[in-house]
Amino acid sequence: MKRQKYLLNKVAWSFFTILFVLVLNFLLFRVLPGDPARAGVRDPRMKQEAIEAIRIRFGLDKQVINCFESLNPIKVGSCTVNPFDTQFFIYVRNLLQGDMGISFHSNRPVAEILVERLGNTVLLIGAGQILAIMLGVAFGIIAAWKARTAIDYAALLSSLLAWSLPTFWLGIILLFWGSGHGLPIGGKATPGTSSLPFLQQWGDIARHMLLPTITYTIVYMGEYMLIMRSSLLDVLAEDYILTAKAKGLSTFQILKDHALKNAMLPLVTVIAINLGFTVAGALQIEAVFSWPGLGGAIYEAVVRRDFPVLQGAFLLIAVSVIIANLIADLTYSYLDPRVQSE
């Protein structure tokens, strides 16, 4: 019962956070300076009517929300206008229907563009994170086990170094090196390979994924290693480890049956909290390696002033992180029997 209440609490809270992000997202883009209808279309050929048509098409002619006609500059408007006819409500209603608007740049539905790209980001992040976790945990265990020896210091130093590297810079350096050694300079696949058989196609994709994944892994491996090490050090200093040793268990048995599960728990939390960072990393890596993912979508949307895409991508990323956090919380609660209530 208690656990159910805990879970319900977490879910409700996540839901509330998503609502907050929705509103934040809406406000951010209404407070922007400049006229989105003219985004990137400063051209004498474009007649006033065309600009007006764009404005109407994107719903920018309506009042922002009750009492406010626009937010930048703040212009007070009618408080009694039909709330369903305000930009805010239309925005919410469209979102609920899965409609994130139309891209200024490509005239395609934003949702369609983003969903395509979401998969690519998940692929890249997934591979990178799994490798980072595996390697980070492995090195963290070794470092903690061999604490204060040369192995530990080496691992510690290299982790701190990896953590200090700016993600995009590591990407650039690897790209520079890799491009001189026959690795692809960017993108997800060589064009024309979509008609190739499955294995060949994915072999090509794997070649493209190599450098970005390595970049990803190096950056996050360092952090996970540090967390695992410190967590395991804490755990190994606990009394129950002494009890286990007193029971005659071997080092390996102690690590496997007593230390790891306990030490992994903070790691789960960190992975969850880190999801914000992993997304930030994805943004940088996708920008440098031209990976067609969600982070790249944000970057391109910024460059092109494609506000619907930018708004949609930001929302999608934020919501993904919130949901991933929720999943991590729930996972944690299943792993740690001590968790019963908030």
């Binding site: 050090l233 009394d239 268990l249 049956d257 944000i298």
Partner: protein
């Protein structure tokens, strides 16, 4: 007789700052980080002097100066505008550092204020603030920063504010927890009691204690801010009129450095960022270690080798006595710490445990009891080392065994019931699992059902109902946990059980239950028990023999009646005097003045001399040997020697 107390004279004058510096400088990581940081600071501050070229003018620059590789005229080459990279590096340091520090300052101030307010005032305010912090924590930073900066002006001030306004979340959480911890400390309550106002308390009590953690966190925030600025600038959202390292990278990457093969334009600014962030990371990491020193050794750290002295002779069992299970002779144990003399935790302690005997091991905290017991099973922490003497278990020499051999003896031959059973049991595994584990380790494979049955049997032995077997330790009460520990200790039918202060953390009623249980089990299963305690009353009731330790040495050793009725060592006598006697309720409670000796700086003579009411001149200069006072009665005191 005058009591001469030997006091440790400090050899250097100490002030808190100097002490801090001493510890700090010993932490190599922090030192390296600090040096690196100072170096780059100097570079930034003295940029005008250090930079070989004036980067504000293009007067002498021509088209041939663009992307020149490193040479004698330009040590680090030139960039896309033909300007010297090394010079830009120094000036770039200024911008990067300024943005980083100011942004971090804003974050830390906001986070600190929010954290203290939340932690201090609690209630709704805390709830609201923490919920808000949680939301901001979840929203991904970089995309939000990108969006905001993209929608506003790409100016330096703007970037500082955006980074600053989004970077406070970790700070507020940490400050809040620390404030909570400090708030309930006694001195705060005391300050309140005498009427101190909130702001006074915050300023004078909370803030100083929150500061160290805040500083460590601030260092982390600075490094993050610098990384954020460089990322934003690289993505083209920075201020192109302020050439930070990130902006240098933006220009290089966007103006064809890669195609020109101009690796120097890419490597150098990035190197700067790495240098600063690494220095801050090392500094922060090191500071954290200084403030929260963690031993960084743990229970799996390989132990130190035993220094074997001449093999002590084994005592033969006397006729008519039960066989000797444990024979400890002149066992000495030191704790080694770097840069300090070894702490002589146990020195030349001897005792014998016969089959079926219950020996009480008595002494103050820190007198070496637990160390002695751990040493028997070679469970000493990494700093501990057996430096003399030996111990036998039946016919096996414990002090000569390898790790594999002693693992066999552990639990099966000798088991331990630890004190403070909350942490002695693994909180994420069920109790039955942990008991079963011991059985599995030391017996040939048995089917699961039999295993379960045995676990239930053991739990029943200690009075825990079978329905609790698959529960977790936190679901047990304190008394139940201790009983579960006992059950676990008996799982492999050991011959000797060491009970290390098994009742210390429990209330009196439960204590009595546990003791009774132990006693019953002993009789039922024919166990031999070493009962470590500082409670003389218990010893009197249950034990057959008593070993009194003080300052790591045997004070007195003998059977219980002798000790209680004919104690010879002044310490034992004082202990007995200090113990309240129900039969004589009006007797004044005595206590032993003074403190136990510091093991790294032991007095030259008898360890008890500084506090001994009967001490005389010889006591301060010469350590007394262990004198035999008759049948199995020993005491280490000069006074004893005098008497027959």
């Amino acid at each position: 007789m005058a009591v001469q107390t030997t006091e440790l004279k400090p050899s250097v004058p100490s002030s808190p700052l100097l002490d801090f510096w001493r510890v700090f400088s010993r932490n190599r990581m922090a030192l390296v980080g600090l040096v690196m940081l100072v170096a780059i600071f100097v570079g930034a501050v003295f940029a005008s002097q250090l930079a070989p070229y004036d980067v504000t003018t293009s007067e002498n620059i021509t088209i041939n100066d663009i992307y020149n590789p490193p040479s004698s005229t330009h040590w680090l080459g030139t960039d896309d505008a033909g300007k010297d990279v090394l010079s830009n590096f120094f000036f770039g340091a200024r911008v990067s550092l300024i943005v980083g520090f100011f942004a971090a300052f804003i974050s830390v101030v906001i986070g600190g204020v929010l954290g203290i307010v939340a932690g201090f005032y609690g209630g709704r305010v805390e709830n609201l603030l923490m919920r808000f912090t949680d939301i901001m924590l979840v929203i991904p930073d970089l995309p939000l920063m990108v969006v905001i900066v993209a929608l506003t002006k790409p100016s330096l001030l703007n970037i500082i504010f955006v980074i600053g306004l989004l970077g406070w979340t970790t700070t507020s959480r940490i400050v809040r927890s620390q404030t909570l911890a400090v708030k309930s400390r006694k001195f705060v309550l005391r300050a309140r009691a005498i009427g101190a106002g909130n702001s006074h308390i915050i300023r004078h009590h909370i803030l100083p204690l929150v500061m160290p953690l805040l500083v460590v966190n601030a260092i982390l925030v600075i490094s993050l801010a610098i990384l954020d600025e460089s990322t934003l600038s690289f993505l083209g959202l920075g201020d192109p009129t302020a050439l930070s390292w990130g902006q240098m990278l933006n220009f290089a990457f966007g103006r064809g450095a890669m195609s020109a093969g101009a690796w120097w334009a890419l490597v150098v600014p990035g190197f700067g960022i790495v240098w600063v962030v690494l220095s801050l990371t090392l500094l922060g990491h090191g500071l954290e270690q200084v403030l929260n020193p963690r031993l960084e050794t743990h229970h799996l750290t390989p132990g130190r080798p035993v220094i074997r002295s001449e093999i002590p002779w084994r005592q033969e069992t006397k006729k008519g006595e039960a066989p000797i299970l444990l024979d400890v002779r002149d066992l000495s144990i030191n704790y080694i710490t770097e840069g300090k003399p070894p702490a002589r935790a146990v020195e030349k302690v001897s005792f014998q445990l016969h089959e079926g005997e219950l020996m009480g091991l008595v002494g103050e905290s820190g007198c070496g009891k637990t160390t002695l017991m751990l040493a028997l099973l070679r469970l000493l922490p990494a700093a501990g080392q057996i430096v003399g003497g030996g111990a036998y278990f039946t016919d096996k020499e414990l002090t000569a065994m390898s790790e594999a051999e002693i693992a066999d003896v552990r639990w099966k031959g000798i088991s331990i019931i630890f004190q403070g059973a909350m942490n002695a049991l693994n909180p994420v595994r069920t109790v039955s699992d942990q008991i079963a584990e011991a059985i599995i380790k030391h017996s040939p494979p048995i089917p699961r059902s039999q295993l379960d049955a045995r676990v239930v049997e053991l739990l029943d032995l200690v009075g825990i109902a079978a329905q609790h077997k698959d529960h977790y330790p936190h679901q047990y009460s304190g008394g139940m946990r201790q009983r579960a520990m006992i059950a676990m200790a008996l799982a492999c039918n050991p011959q000797v059980v060491i009970a290390d202060e098994p009742t210390t953390a429990l209330d009196v009623m439960i204590q009595a239950q546990i003791l009774e249980l132990l006693d019953n089990l002993r009789r039922k299963l024919g166990l031999s028990i070493i009962f470590v305690t500082h409670d003389l009353g218990v010893v009197a009731e249950m034990c057959d023999s008593v070993l009194v330790m003080y300052g790591g040495v045997t004070a007195e050793y003998g059977d219980v009646d002798t000790i209680y009725n004919a104690a010879c060592h002044p310490y034992t006598q004082e202990l007995l005097k200090a113990f309240p006697d129900l039969s004589n309720p009006e007797k004044r409670l005595a206590s032993i003045p003074g403190y136990p000796p510091r093991l790294e700086a032991l007095p030259a003579g008898c360890r008890f001399a500084p506090r001994c009411p009967a001490a005389f001149a010889r006591c301060a200069s010469e350590q007394p040997a262990l004198h035999s006072l008759g049948e199995d009665h020993f005491a280490s005191c000069h006074l004893v020697e005098a008497s027959p």
